[in-house]
Symmetry: C2
Subunit: 269 residues, 2 copies
């Protein structure tokens, strides 16, 4: 999505604040012959405006991953107001996707490149039996977790490091700054929150996996430090499943949605 | 379910602590040609033990109503241990129903009549746009609620009253003791908790409806008091929808499941 595209569209660039349940989708990005958030949004735009438009996202989410505050952008020549666009899209969207807010942005706004920070949440249900109500919303870990050991391990990960061992394959520098990596909650309901200006592919799920290994006593905090220091892809490190992951919010400089009460979404305390 | 039935079964009476997502079911009780929690449980018992048994529930839940701590009982001649029964039933049950605990009880245990208290929770999402993630888990109220007015109104309802105006049709005394009626939370996520030795049919949903009217300013706290004092069925009073309701726990004298960390289930803070 370029500013030139919006100018050619003769129109406006619109940013959407999106919440979605990723269970029924093969991920955020368009895929041939499989439902995606992108295709569903583009169909709603088409139904509402008659236009065929491409949506761009702040962060790519995989199949089954949820969003509380994904940001998407598209161009339009429609004369509909910002509120009419929001209400109109929600009319056409299925019940598992909702536009929480709409904003008109600069014509060169790029939801992915302009983002200055992203916050992800990962939910764990730590209980003997599988959860019935939260079955698509949190990772079920049946054995008791040593949350204190996990907390100590999260501290080791905060800051600037080479996160090659905690990411999927990636061409380019794997140095990132993990501003926050915090385990919240106790008892059955746990959540890990991770904030960074930018994440590597699958970084959250590939961090939660080893942290749960620490919690289960299968890996020590030292083992985790060794992985981090090795700064090499660690194929043996487990990846946490997609359905516990939430893209909570995306931050921009000099641009923002109204504050909303997102404190608890995707987490039951 | 009578003690004689268990004795005839030559066996044991088993109590189950159940969690379920009521979305796909026409309610807890068996219904011809419609999925029910009861029929699904009985099929799991049959698959596991080969026996055809009837399940009895502590509380009847309607279509779409959820449970975190429903209690059910059945008789069996099976020699399977309590743990084997739990694991075996969970193997045969669909993912939206789970047995959290099993216990062997006295042969005359009756999950409904022996209950000394029940706790229900009702969840409300108070936000402009419909929730995508919690769509089947909470009532969406789009207009802002005056939670302080609602809190004052809940206090009026606590204690022993004739709750005829806050219940569905009922033959018999409509006097009940509402031990607790508390609105918890702020911002978008609210929940009402109601505890009583016994509830009238639809009492929770028919209490939440008028309380939300108070929160919207359509009804005053005095109007609510007038309804209560009238002690007559109030057909005009709105009923809150089923999908926000959770049966949280059932209490028995001299009988209990292990304490579990139920604090947050069905509520996201």
């Amino acid at each position: 999505m370029t500013g030139a595209a919006a100018a050619r569209a003769g129109g406006r660039r619109i940013a959407l604040l999106l919440e979605y349940d990723g269970t029924a989708y093969r991920g955020s990005q368009y895929q041939e012959n499989a439902p995606s958030i992108q295709a569903t949004l583009e169909a709603a735009i088409n139904n509402l405006t008659g236009e065929t438009r491409r949506c761009a996202f702040a962060g790519r989410t995989d199949a089954g991953v949820h969003a509380l505050g994904q940001v998407a952008g598209f161009d339009t020549q429609s004369r509909l107001s910002i509120d009419e666009l929001r209400r109109g899209m929600n009319h056409f969207l299925p019940l598992d996707i909702v536009v929480r807010q709409t904003r008109e942005t600069a014509l060169d706004f790029d939801p992915r490149r302009d983002a200055t920070a992203r916050l992800y949440r990962y939910r764990i249900e730590n209980r003997r039996e599988r959860p019935a109500l939260e079955r698509d919303r949190a990772w079920h870990v049946a054995k008791p977790l040593d949350t204190e050991a996990m907390r100590r391990a999260t501290r080791r990960l905060e800051g600037e490091h080479d996160f090659a061992a905690f990411a999927g394959p990636y061409e380019g520098s794997t140095r990132r700054t993990l501003r926050r990596c915090e385990l919240i909650g106790c008892g059955e309901r746990l959540r890990l929150e991770m904030e960074s200006p930018g994440f590597l592919p699958h970084q959250v799920r590939r961090t939660v996996g080893p942290l749960v290994e620490v919690g289960l006593g299968r890996m020590s905090e030292e083992d985790l430090g060794v992985l981090l220091d090795a700064a090499r892809p660690a194929s043996a490190a487990p990846t946490a499943p997609a359905h516990g992951l939430y893209l909570v919010s995306v931050t921009y400089d000099g641009f923002g949605f109204e504050p909303e009460d997102e404190s608890g979404n995707g987490q039951s305390e």
